[in-house]
């Protein structure tokens, strides 16, 4: 795909999906349950150690 086609691809995509209209109601319980199920599977097992070990040095 050339750059030109690529750029065109973006805007086509933008138009076609139109960033889907949102549901107007509050997020349903179902949504959150789905999220949790997905996350349960990958969450670090020892949260306390994991958090304690995440130490960064200064940045900008």
């Amino acid at each position: 795909m050339s750059e030109r086609e690529f750029a065109k691809g973006n805007s086509d995509r933008e138009q076609s999906t139109d960033f889907n209209p949102l549901p107007t109601t509050s997020s349903s319980d179902l949504d959150v349950t789905d999220l949790l199920d997905a996350i349960d599977l990958v969450l670090e097992e020892n949260a306390e150690e994991f958090v304690k070990g995440f130490v960064q040095k200064g940045g900008q």
Binding site: M1, E3, R4, F6, A7, G9, N10, S11, R13, E14, Q15, F19, N20, L22, P23, T24, T25, S26, S27, D31, V32, T33, D34, L35, L36, A38, I39, V42, L43, E44, A47, E48, F50, V51, K52, G53, F54, V55, Q56, K57, G58, G59, Q60
Partner: protein, 527 residues
């Protein structure tokens, strides 16, 4: 090398044209410092890890690069030193390279980005792009590059090295995601400060990435909208690591300084949401357009912008109002709505209607409306709301307090860039966070520069002549044609020059770097 030895060339095919003032379109880019750790050894040296990560990637994608490809800080820097290190990467044992290059990793990538070690973090500075959608795309390309790098470095070292697109460790340290926008020099800096400050203080209502913990060192349990807000301590200033200012005064334009400044924005969070990244860049560009056009009128100023910045971030239930200089009070959403309404008026009066600008304005309005009426309905779009939904789900299901380590772990893991471990990435793959780009589009941006800025010239030089690129910077490419020839510096002073349209034929007819120089010379040689 003395300055006289460097032949400075200017690429006159480069043609300058001004970006329309009434659009989201302008030269921009995003630079991000990433969190990095070895989860099995928290004492691991982060500078070494960062160097291993950057070099592992350089070795994979540019095995034949000049041994120490450099960033061209200055035409007078002692570039000739590069001569001593031009053994190609392919000849060296990869295990030797990381220690040897400790602290020096500094690459220019085929997609035109800069990729290097800054302080104790790997940093990816995207190539210059001309619009917010491309800014989000080439930023996302950076995520894939960093993730790939960490995987390669883990294999090479036998350790596990993980990278995070976040901005704090929750223990007092912050690292930045900086946006850059080319802005007309003729705009008074005091106007930028005046008109941007209320926008920046409240922008996190949709652009925040969410954070577990209040205060720089998480002294108070809880949730807040922004990763970065608590680390800001001044209204205006030059610093980026101490007493961080809401408006940063760094001014290296990397363009004609008489016409442009580069606005260096340091208040933002790193976004996993592709759409929010796009809207963050797009809305900011719109506000800049209005300031440049002299259109924006504000009848308000914040009484204490720094305090408000903290309060807005802490107020995820939208319960507070900010004190204004005239004694009135406004909520963060009201301030954002003021900017949005100005943008709507600006568009109708200027009759500018490019599609992306209209889209940004429309989505900005829709999101502000949703934040006002039902914030949690933005669960699939806005980083902090996705994160908060997950956290609330755990709090309710497992009866967790905000001080529980599991919630802090979720915050960190949200930004893990691995597709199988990073929570945002997992949610994106499951369709729980909306995407703007396909993986195929992202892969193209990993390997290729944008076509419509000088990043095309830089990136193509790196792809085509990798064993002859001694150094590069935003406004130059330095070629090494051999031991007896002075280094040649090609200047690219115009961000909108060196595009595919301007330089495609030049590259087609220039098989080697020497051909490129021959085709540029002699009329482009400056003293």
């Amino acid at each position: 090398m003395t300055p006289g030895e460097a032949s400075t060339l200017r690429c006159h095919q480069i043609h300058s044209h001004k970006v329309s003032q009434m659009s989201v379109r302008r030269v921009m880019g995003i630079e991000s410092e990433f969190g990095i750790s070895n989860p099995r050894d928290s004492s691991a040296n982060p500078m070494l890890l960062s160097s291993q990560v950057v070099n592992a990637y350089g070795n994979e994608v540019m095995p034949n690069r000049i041994r120490r490809m450099r960033w061209d800080y200055d035409v007078e820097s002692p570039l000739r030193d590069a001569r001593g290190f031009d053994m190609s990467r392919a000849e060296a044992d990869p295990s030797q390279l990381t220690d040897d290059d400790y602290g020096l990793a500094n690459l220019v990538l085929p997609n035109g980005a800069r990729y290097y070690v800054d302080h104790a973090h790997p940093e990816y500075a995207s190539p210059e792009v001309t619009n917010p959608l491309d800014a989000a795309l080439w930023d996302c390309a950076g995520d894939r590059i960093i993730e790939r790098s960490a995987r390669l470095a883990s294999t090479l070292t036998g350790d596990l090295i993980t990278v995070y697109k976040n901005n704090t460790d929750g223990k007092g340290v912050s690292y930045g995601t900086h946006e850059n926008y080319q802005v007309l020099r003729e705009v008074a800096f005091s106007d930028l400060v005046k008109f941007l400050t209320p926008f920046f203080v409240t922008r996190c209502v949709f652009a925040g990435a969410g954070r577990v913990g209040i205060g720089q060192e998480n002294i108070e349990p809880g949730f807040q909208i922004s990763q970065r807000a608590d680390f800001f301590e001044a209204e205006v200033g030059l610093e980026t690591t101490l007493r961080r200012p809401i408006i940063n005064t760094r001014d290296e334009p990397h363009a004609d300084p008489d016409i442009y400044r580069r606005l260096h924005v340091i208040i933002g969070d790193a976004n996993m949401s592709q759409k929010i990244n796009y809207l963050k860049m797009g809305t900011t560009a719109i506000v800049l357009s209005m300031i440049e056009a002299g259109f924006l009128e504000l009848d308000f100023e914040l009484y204490d912008a720094v305090t408000s910045m903290h309060l807005v971030s802490h107020d995820y239930k939208f319960e507070t109002k900010q004190r204004m200089r005239d004694g009135s009070e406004k909520s963060a959403l009201e301030i954002q709505q003021h900017y949005h309404q100005s943008a709507v008026r600006f568009l109708s009066e200027t009759k500018e209607s490019d599609e992306m600008t209209l889209d940004v304005v429309a989505q900005w309005g829709r999101i502000l409306e949703a934040l006002d009426s039902d914030p949690m309905s933005l669960i699939n779009e806005v980083d902090w709301i996705t994160k908060l939904s997950v956290l609330n789900g755990y709090r309710n299901r497992d009866q967790l307090l905000w001080s529980d380590s599991r919630l802090a772990a979720i915050d960190i893991q949200f930004a893990d860039l691995r597709p199988d471990k990073g929570l945002a990435r997992v949610l994106q793959q499951k369709g729980k966070m909306e995407l703007l780009f396909t993986e195929e589009q992202i892969a193209i941006a990993v390997a290729n520069p944008p076509s419509d800025t000088r990043a095309y010239f830089r990136g193509t030089c790196v792809s085509k002549y990798v064993d002859q690129v001694a150094a590069a910077s935003w406004d130059s490419v330095i070629l090494d044609l051999g031991p007896d020839v002075p280094l040649k510096r090609i200047s690219t002073p115009d961000a909108l020059g060196g595009t595919q349209a301007a330089s495609h034929d030049l590259f087609e007819t220039s098989k080697l770097a020497g051909d490129l120089l021959a085709n540029l010379m002699p009329e482009h040689v400056l003293a």
